[in-house]
Amino acid sequence: MVNLLSLVLVPALGAVAVAINSILPRRIKPEYIAASAFLITSALFFIGVIVGFSGFSIGIINSIDFAFTLQLNGISLPFLLLAVTLPALGLWSAVKEINSGKALFYIFYLLSYASLIGVFISSNLIAFFIFWEIVLISFFFIITFWGEEETRRKAGMKFLIFTQFGSLTLLGAFILLFIYTGSFSLGTISSMISLVPSYISYVIFAFVLITAVIKMPMFPMHSWLPDAHVSAPTAGSVLLAGVLLKLGGYVLILFGSILLSSVMRSIQIPLMLLGVFTVIYSTLAASSQTDFKKMIAYSSIFYMGLVFIGIASLNQIGESGSIFLMVSHGFIVGMLFVLAGILKEKTGTRDLNRLGGLMSKMPLYSVFLVLAVIATLGVPGLSNFVGELLVFIGAYAAYPITLVALAGVLIATNYYLSALKRILYTSLKKTMSGVKDISYADAVQLSIFSIFIIIIGVVPIVITNSFSLTI
């Protein structure tokens, strides 16, 4: 049995080690410390998946209601997979991009890694919230200090203001839950949820909904996301789109559709319509982007819109589909951001109008880019398909009109294929004649992403059997 504490402790100790290392006279590179922390954590996670995880609990006062408890809930495991693997996969991009203030960067990176894992396994709401906050703060620093020169301060501040507002409402929800059930323990709360008066449960749900809408993000609270992505370094983008956005979905499933399903059911149709609107809106907005990274950012709003529809469908197929889609999208969007980062690194630009014909110069890169784009379009055999299928079946059963969101997939096909054409195909631009193909290490990094995408797509039971919709 692998103790869940180790998953949080190893990266946290890694952060401490990086800090100590930076003041020592003879230093080793912080990359190495980070890499070993990532390796150990991932190894522990995969061993744990096979042999099982054991929970951890330590009481501050002698009561379960306040105890710091790490425990898997029904839906933890798929999210944990994302939280463990994606930041580790993004490490190579960080190694290439981060040149100044390395030690500090890896401290923040490892801190956000530890606390992302912590969020998904803590079953105490105080611990949950603390981890949640550490993620946001470290990520704020990652954008503001290591982002792109012109925009990073503003984008970081926008990120902080939006997401802190979301944290505030989440804290409100937690406090209300505590007041009416007398406990911060998730297990206790779910068994005593009937004690919460109905009007209070509406307030709690409204708070959770605001958090989710900001965090996923949904229209009209999405505008922090494209800016944050464009400014963030590649590793940050992988973390942001791959795991941070999923926090919103996680919270909505856990506190919305599982804990307060009756409240959610009463406003189900407006929620689904919001999801459909976001889907169409974000695909249309993505069509007009010329920055490849910004296009991917808008398209991840699109997929989170589908996730939102799936959660709001409130039936097992739809909810499972949205969890599946979140996992799948985590890997795909991570891969796309890595690819966008490589594009910038090799050619110096992500502007689609200035690229062209790179396939002749970068054949290996093209294979990965085409694979990632095809995967994101939901072609069967790759991971997104199963998620989309389940979401649409679930959503149709709940509210047939939601099938309109299929039009979003069509528009997404259009802009992604246009991007492929403008990056890879047609004749080579003169300015691009010196471009080299990706290195061996890049190929390994991208291959791992592809392997995850293919395995999840071909053998979906690895995800569908890993969770049950309970607390």
Binding site: K158, A285, S288, F385, L390, L406, T426, I461
Partner: protein
Amino acid sequence: MLYLIILPMIVSMLLVPLIGERLIKSFKIALTGALVSLFLSTYYLFKYFGNQVTESYNWFGVSNFFNLSISGDNLTLLMAVMVSFISLMVLIFSVFYMKKEPQERYYVEMSLFIASMLGLVLSSSLLLFYIFWELVGVSSYLLIGFWYKKESASAAGKKALIMTRIGDMSFLAAIVLLFTSTGTFSIPSILQELPALPNITILLSGALILIAALSKSAQFPFYTWLPDAMEGPTPVSALLHSATMVAAGAYLLVVMYPLLFAAGLNTVIVSIGFITAVLSALLALNHRHTKRILAYSTIESLAFMFIAIGTINTGGAVFYLMVHAVFKSMLFFISGIFAVLIGVQDVYKLKLKRLSSTWLKLPALIGFASISGLPPFMSFFAHTAISANFTTIEGLVFTVISFLTALFSFRAFFLIFNRKGVKLDRKVSTAMPIYILSIISTIGGATLFFFSKVLAGFMYKIDIFTVITTAAAFLGVYVAFEVFYKDKLSTASASFKDVANKLMRVAYDKILFSIGMSFVSAGDAVGKFDNALSKFYDRSADSALFLSSKSRRIENGNVETYIIAILIGIIASLVVASVFVW
């Protein structure tokens, strides 16, 4: 064990990049794969002849089981034999034709293409059908855009995928509808439960499936992607136009026809079929490029299949599909030989070259006669099959179409070939598939009686109408001979061309273009709005940064200030706390 039929091509897809061109030539791997597939599908055809065997695999389960099942019966296995046979021919032809192209990429994509089509014809669960359906679309996108440096090729690939994706999404919607109301993906079970379903579900899912088939098979109003798809390498066109991709749409209708009839859509299918047939015959008459002419003729042949399905003659449609696959792939091979040996594919430019190689001329004659449905070729029998259930009016329209068809196909023939003239070199790997296919097209007519026994819902009829349509076709051949070979009436044909040009292509493309542009401008509008929204929110960030720049003065490093601030803070919190306690 039916999946063994698909497996060789999947193995070939994986082995080609793994082994690498240097160690073993890629085409050898792909050819072996296709040969094994052909062998296995023939074996299973004999083994399961007259029976139906269904193999079901559970993919995953979420509150319901998501089953993938394949079935072997006369229809699916005959289709598998046909697909693997045509693929084998195409791969043999590719050995010579694609010699100078990147081998690995080509054979990986071809293997995926063939594997997905084999999977598609064997599937008996809608989910699995859809999976392969999408894979066929994606691999054809990759293959059409094979020459990615050409602007036109990459545009054509993109167009093909987007146009067919409209159908894919509508297919997916139909699957969602049917699965939600029946709880299963299995096609036989869904068709069994049809009477229990509400009318609206049947009508909606039937219409969605029809849209899917129309877009995949390049029928009106989706046909424009297919002529553009000629930008791909010729062997790709040969495969895409005959056994795979476009055939998938017609095959879907064959498999799902009880649903479409229950929805009462047969008249719609027949009318769309006739509209497409007339339109494509006129457009074929109008074009100069060999591959484009052949593309329009493919659209027309698919329209024939749709008409046959709409007139409740699915067996006839399948028979025509197979016959068409044989002669159409052969014609594409011939046009590919022009491209390689002469370098031009424009019929009027070919006319100037004065070609007269018998080894090409004879197969071409067989091919173009097959398009026109002339006796004694196999296609003639297929035409008697598709027209078996026609009413008088349909028969009359079909007569007109026969005339037009013969006219455009023999226009191409008479323009390209001369009685005497230049001879072309012959290579075994190119000539062999052409010979094999032309022999089948010539003597395969007798198989009509075999197919009418083994395929369900097969009808054929040889009566006075057959005589009339055949006569119309011969008239078309004669007119083509007079006008295009002897160059009489060339002004008439020129003016006709102008009219057709203006009527069909230009106007329709403009409409499609403006639809596309309206989406683009909608995207731009939303993008602008979103930017404005983002600017609006930016003020929050600006004000925060402004406040922080002001408040920075507080953090001046002066310890006294800090201590005072801390004291004030403690006092304030004590006050607040005491207020709350009291």
